[in-house]
């Protein structure tokens, strides 16, 4: 285990943590809106939201790279106004990850909100509560398993991403060289023993995360009488 560099792991988790937090705030209103709206534009919005699931990460990465470069208005705006360089930087990775993992936060939340008893939400409106109060005090507490799924899947999906990260971030140690990219490089230079250790660690962590989610769901369902 000598000389095992844990930095790529820390970077992966830092990236995943930030992405999950940001998406939780931005994806929730979208999921709530999608679950409640009768707007005709809903399929259009749903299709756009779900694009990252079907698009090859290299395609998404290519477009993001293009948009982040100083030659594009987006890249120029971020660099001129905030002084943030988005290409080959950690900040750029965070923004790219948010785009890439967006559907993984929206879909479980939307599913949870849609499955709620509509009368329960209406009972809250009748009681004089606003949409925001209803979302926070009635809707969210009643979709805990979906909420947990959304958080964990987004986190895990960001830890596991490779294509987009490589395209947008490259492999700068301590800045954009996350675990998945590090493993790829080890295999490339045929350092299989390190690659084994890294891969085994990733496997174990992923398994533990999923185990925790499913155990919680069973317990929660028992508690509210569904189990």
């Amino acid at each position: 285990m000598m000389g095992l560099d844990l930095e790529p792991f820390l970077l992966s988790f830092k990236l995943a943590g930030l992405t999950t937090l940001i998406l939780f705030i931005f994806a929730m209103p979208v999921a709530w809106w999608l679950s409640q709206t009768r707007c005709r534009c809903k399929p259009f919005v749903e299709a756009v939201v779900s694009l990252p699931i079907v698009l090859p990460p290299s395609v998404l990465g290519f477009y993001i790279l293009f948009a982040f470069s100083y030659n594009s208005p987006v890249g120029a705006f971020f660099e001129d106004v905030f002084g943030i360089k988005l290409v080959f930087s950690f900040s750029g990775l965070v923004v790219a990850s948010c785009l890439y993992s967006f559907p993984f936060m929206v879909q479980p939340l939307q599913g949870g909100f849609t499955s709620l008893n509509k009368n329960m939400l209406e009972a809250s409106y009748v009681a004089g509560k606003s949409k925001m109060q209803t979302l926070l005090y009635v809707a969210l507490p009643n979709i805990k398993p979906a909420l947990l799924s959304a958080l964990i899947i987004t986190f895990a999906h960001t830890v596991g991403e490779f294509g987009v990260v490589l395209m947008v971030g490259g492999s700068i140690p301590g800045e954009t060289k996350v675990a998945s990219v590090a493993i790829y490089e080890m295999v490339e230079i045929m350092d299989y023993s390190q690659a084994h250790i890294y891969s085994a660690l990733m496997l174990l962590l992923s398994f533990l995360v999923l185990l925790a989610v499913y155990s919680f769901n069973i317990k929660h369902n028992k508690r509210i009488g569904l189990g």
Binding site: M120, E122, Y125, V126, A127, G128, K129, S130, N142, I224
Partner: protein, 283 residues
């Protein structure tokens, strides 16, 4: 206080499109039962009054305009009570919290729970309650805002008959104490008779009957002492006579038939059981 309703709305029914046109004036403290076949617009009418669905026309509740040509008051601002058929309790909150979420009035919550015999269940979560207990909680919750208008959409139809009659007592108790003007959708004649002071019958979105429950529900004709509809379940042969078993509401009755009569009827048929003198007969 007076409630004036004059609304219309296009509805897309199961078989055909129809228009809901309801014009009603309801006096303060009145208990109005709304009856009619499914799809006649009963639930939609309640939802329009609650502001959960839009409509054209006018709704004025004690000089407060809920709906007119220019405005529709938001559900949140109407200050009504609504009891849903499926209880619709907040699953994440205890019985007590369900009430206090409407209004932070601990005294009123305690009083309501005491009145309906729920005090010992105050800390329980809804999923651990029986159907009857859940609907009691929903009823209490609806009174927390001291509503001017209480709307109930078939509140007891999911409960068994015994539970139903207990809940009817509770509804009556609360209605007396708060003298809330109440509109209740119901199919159960005994429930309507027990609770309501007035009854309207809807058919295809129009009011076809508007009288006291007694005038609408009493169905005997001519010299009949009683006349009841029921389903013929079985015809048994006993020595030289036949006995017909008929289900009427929640009860089973036996009626004696002779051999000739027994041949006229078929099991599963809907029959009228009536009597003019003392011998009940089927026809």
């Amino acid at each position: 206080m007076m409630i004036k309703i004059d609304i219309s709305k296009k509805l897309h029914g199961v078989s055909q499109d129809m228009s809901l046109d309801v014009k009603l004036e309801i006096k303060e403290g009145e208990f109005l039962a709304i009856s009619g076949q499914s799809g006649s617009g009963k639930t939609t009418l309640l939802r329009i009054l609650a502001g959960l669905e839009d409509a054209q026309g006018e709704i004025v509740v004690s000089k407060k305009v809920y709906l007119d040509a220019h405005n529709s008051l938001a559900t949140q601002a109407r200050g009504i009570g609504f009891v849903f058929q499926d209880y619709a309790l907040f699953a994440n909150m205890s019985v007590e919290q369900n009430l206090l979420f409407v209004k932070k009035d601990t005294n009123l919550a305690e009083h309501l729970l005491h009145l309906t015999g729920l005090s010992t269940l105050a800390k329980r979560l809804p999923h651990s309650l029986s159907g009857g207990q859940k609907q009691r909680v929903a009823l209490c919750r609806a009174f927390m805002s001291r509503p001017k208008l209480l709307l109930m959409d078939e509140p007891l139809s999911a409960l068994d008959p015994k539970m139903r009659s207990q809940l009817q007592e509770d509804i009556l108790k609360l209605h007396k104490e708060f003298s809330t003007t109440t509109l209740m959708v119901s199919h159960d004649p005994s429930e309507i008779y027990k609770l309501a002071s007035r009854m309207v019958v809807l058919e295809d979105g129009k009011i076809i009957n508007d009288e006291t429950p007694k005038e609408i529900l009493l169905q005997t004709q001519g010299s009949q002492k009683f006349s009841l509809r029921g389903e013929l379940l079985e015809i048994k042969k006993a020595d030289i006579i036949h006995v017909a078993v008929v289900a009427i509401g929640q009860q089973i009755v036996e009626v004696v038939l002779d051999a000739k009569e027994a041949k006229q009827f078929q099991v599963g048929q809907i029959v009228q059981v009536s009597t003019k003198a003392f011998a009940p007969s089927l026809y």
